[in-house]
């Protein structure tokens, strides 16, 4: 294994390691634009030049493999001067319109300019104008003046999605990014080009001019769009989610996430069930709880355990499901459990899964397998047969696109003696109306279920609580609270705790940590999702991420 000396520190690295990677292992973040760890290396931006001893020319460190005995300087005077010159060239035709640029604050060009260039333009000729607002596709807008032609976006479409939409057109200082005439940048991951564009040349239509980046706070979270559970940065400002960005996790989503998934943040704010309701009346939690206790007490006296049922939601965290299990067990004393959640939808080979629920494996984990949970069809059958009189339903998704079955379910609900709905939304979510409409398949914005409910309890979204989702591959992934529960909602685990306590069972936990310990702590090892033990570390970049230079975001 070659040994190399970087800035007088020696390090032994694997064969084929590049100078940039070796430097990163020692903690030197060499400035770069075109290099991205998930893409091929064109070495076209020259920002990463370093000095290699016995080599008359500066070398692009992103591309140059280390040799044994190599001596590298990444911060020498020559290197710093080269960076300044490279930046000056890159900025020759750049409009420097940072004040109106969405990237400002998270822009590599801006950062490097401040660090290495920091001078007024010496150019006295007019700048070459580029295109200013050019929609490359339904989600992405291009600004030709800001583009530094690093070709990250082009390579993303060639190498990751393999859809080849983007390319460079024209040449010299007229070069711009384009699609083939008549085509659009329209794939399931097109907004990832916005993430990897190191400057403000690519912006997402959804986020353009919405919020300055330095105003936002960021929480580590997990996308709820499907069972892949892509790790995300949840960027929020004043209790409102502004956008999702993918968060690196090589086991789950690498650096990417899908476009439909990115839009699921809208679920946090759209069409929420804001307050508890008893019948048609908006009430406070105290009144709702009292109403629950009196009606449920009566129902428990009147109906056999087998006439009571619960619909579980794979949209809810393991913590909420753990409480649902205890509630069904101890309060409802029923083992009639049914699977709710969103119906299946589109999938592809990269990340998107057909199961549009983030936590089906969580139900499997919490309930020790899915044998105890029956299908939604069998619920409807049982309801129609009059076997079920009392139903406590988590979330109001109906997990089917079959209109007949949906209608049968709604009819059967109307015949119930007691119907409790514990849900985030009034309507059935309700995918972003202006997004390409095929995700998920059914989105009837139909508040019927809320109207039919004797009692409706508003639950919080994943942005408003800590929790855990177990993804398709059984990887348990914690997510963190971004802001306090919106409106009058409460996290599901707390709702069950509150109701359970009032029903005379001690169900609540003072701290989520206690619940988690009970849930994860005493499980048999082999029953656990495979990474439950180190779930903390999974949520972050893995330990060896230090060996990879951070991608410019």
């Amino acid at each position: 294994m070659p040994k190399v000396t970087i800035n007088n520190e020696e390090i032994e690295v694997d064969d084929g390691t590049t100078v940039m990677e070796a430097a990163a292992q020692l903690g030197y973040d060499i400035p770069h634009f075109c290099y991205h760890p998930a893409l091929s290396i064109p070495a076209n931006c020259r920002m990463c030049l370093v000095e290699v001893e016995d080599n008359p020319d500066l070398q692009p460190s992103c591309h140059m493999p280390v040799n044994d005995g190599m001596e590298v300087h990444t911060e020498s005077e020559r290197v710093v001067k080269a960076r300044k010159s490279v930046l000056e060239f890159i900025l020759v035709n750049h409009p420097v319109d940072c004040p109106i640029c969405d990237q400002a604050g998270e822009c590599k060009l801006q950062d490097y300019y401040m660090a290495y260039d920091a001078q007024e333009s010496r150019l006295r000729t007019e700048k070459v104008d580029g295109v200013k607002v050019y929609p490359l596709g339904p989600e992405v807008v291009y600004d030709g003046e800001r583009c530094i032609l690093c070709t990250r976006c082009v390579r993303f479409c060639e190498e990751i999605t393999e859809t080849d939409e983007l390319t460079t057109a024209q040449r010299g200082d007229h070069t711009e990014i384009r699609t083939f005439p008549g085509q659009e940048l329209d794939n399931n991951y097109s907004m990832c080009t916005v993430d990897i564009c190191p400057v403000g040349a690519l912006t997402a239509r959804d986020f353009r001019f919405k919020c300055r980046v330095w105003l936002m706070n960021t929480t580590d979270s997990v996308c709820t769009g499907c069972s892949q559970g892509c790790n995300i940065h949840l960027d929020h400002f004043r209790n409102e989610v502004q956008r999702y960005r993918p968060r690196y996790n090589p086991d789950v989503n690498d650096y990417w996430m899908c476009d439909p998934g990115r839009y699921t943040y809208k679920e946090v704010h759209q069409d929420r069930l804001e307050d508890p309701m008893v019948g048609d009346n908006v009430v406070n939690w105290h009144a709702a709880t009292q109403a629950y206790v009196s009606t449920m007490d009566e129902a428990l006296d009147t109906f056999e355990p087998s006439e009571r049922a619960m619909v579980l939601s794979p949209q809810v965290s393991c913590e909420g499901l753990h409480q649902a299990r205890r509630f069904a067990d101890e309060v409802l004393e029923t083992d009639r459990l049914y699977m709710g959640g969103k119906p299946g939808g589109e999938s592809d080979d990269l990340l998107m899964n057909a199961d549009k629920n983030p936590n089906r494996r969580g139900i499997e984990y919490v309930f020790g397998g899915l044998e105890a949970v029956d299908s939604f069809e069998s619920l409807v059958d049982a309801m129609e047969a009059g076997e079920i009189r009392v139903l406590h339903m988590m979330n109001k998704h109906i997990p089917t696109t079959d209109d007949a079955l949906r209608a049968r379910f709604v009819d059967a609900v109307a015949d119930l003696d007691l119907f409790v709905l514990q849900a985030m939304h009034r309507g059935e979510m309700v995918f972003p109306p202006d997004h390409r409409g095929d995700f998920p398949a059914a989105d009837l914005d139909d508040p019927t279920l809320v109207e039919l409910a004797d009692i409706a309890l508003p639950s919080s979204s994943h942005a408003e609580q800590d929790g855990t989702f177990v993804n398709e591959d059984g990887i348990a992934q914690p997510f963190s609270q971004s802001f306090k529960p919106l409106y009058n909602s409460q996290p599901d685990w707390q709702i069950f705790g509150r109701l359970g306590d009032e029903m005379g069972h001690s169900l609540s936990y003072r701290r989520l940590a206690d619940l988690r310990e009970e849930m994860f702590g005493d499980a048999e090892d082999d029953a656990k999702p495979k990474t439950l033990d180190d779930k903390q570390s999974k949520s972050r970049a893995p330990a060896d991420a230090a060996t990879q230079p951070t991608p410019a975001e």
């Binding site: 060639e158 080849d164 939409e165 983007l166 390319t167 460079t168 057109a169 024209q170 040449r171 384009r178 699609t179 083939f180 005439p181 008549g182 085509q183």
Partner: protein, 175 residues
């Protein structure tokens, strides 16, 4: 209407493709062939070439827009490319360009309404020793250099060309 190489062009296409290690490498000569065959490189032609070479459309677009010798708009039957780089400039390249512009009534970068002539100003064509010079491309695919030019010689050339105009196809009608 779907484009199709003529039998002759198809033979040439096959020869070109067989000469290169992969289709991407053959792209440039194939585009030249296509320009000869179809008069100019329209979006339709790029599409056809991408399909024939099995390379991505955007790659063809990128290459076609990179090279100015590939005409993305139809030019005249006679395309005169005048060099005005150093040697030619010193030896009277600009004067010759002006003379041509005068004679044909169009400026560099323009095509006459009948689509008979297009003049372009170009960089060095590697004929510096015999400056000033221009390259003539006719729509039948012929490329010719004219060197050591002076006004008389230019008149002569234009006269010859005027005689040939009727035989030359109009690039606009070539596909």
């Amino acid at each position: 209407m779907a484009l199709q190489f003529s039998t002759e062009a198809e033979d040439q296409f096959q020869t070109i493709v067989s000469r290169y290690p992969n289709n991407l490498a053959a792209l440039l000569p194939v585009l030249m062939l296509a320009q000869e065959e179809f008069g100019w490189i329209s979006v339709e032609v790029m599409d056809y070439i991408a399909e024939r070479l099995d390379v991505s459309k955007s790659q063809v677009f990128s290459t076609a827009t990179f090279y100015t010798m590939l005409n993305k708009q139809p030019v005249g039957k006679c395309h005169i490319q005048v060099c005005t780089t150093f040697s030619c400039a010193l030896a009277g390249g600009y004067e010759m360009l002006e003379y041509l512009e005068e004679a044909l009534g169009i400026q560099a970068g323009e095509t006459d309404p009948e689509h008979n002539f297009t003049i372009s100003e170009v960089e060095c064509l590697a004929s510096c020793g015999t400056a000033p010079m221009f390259q003539l491309t006719t729509s039948d695919g012929e490329i010719e250099y004219f060197e050591d030019l002076d006004p008389d010689r230019v008149d002569e050339i234009l006269e010859d060309l005027n005689d040939r105009l009727d035989e030359l196809p109009d690039p606009r009608d070539m596909h």
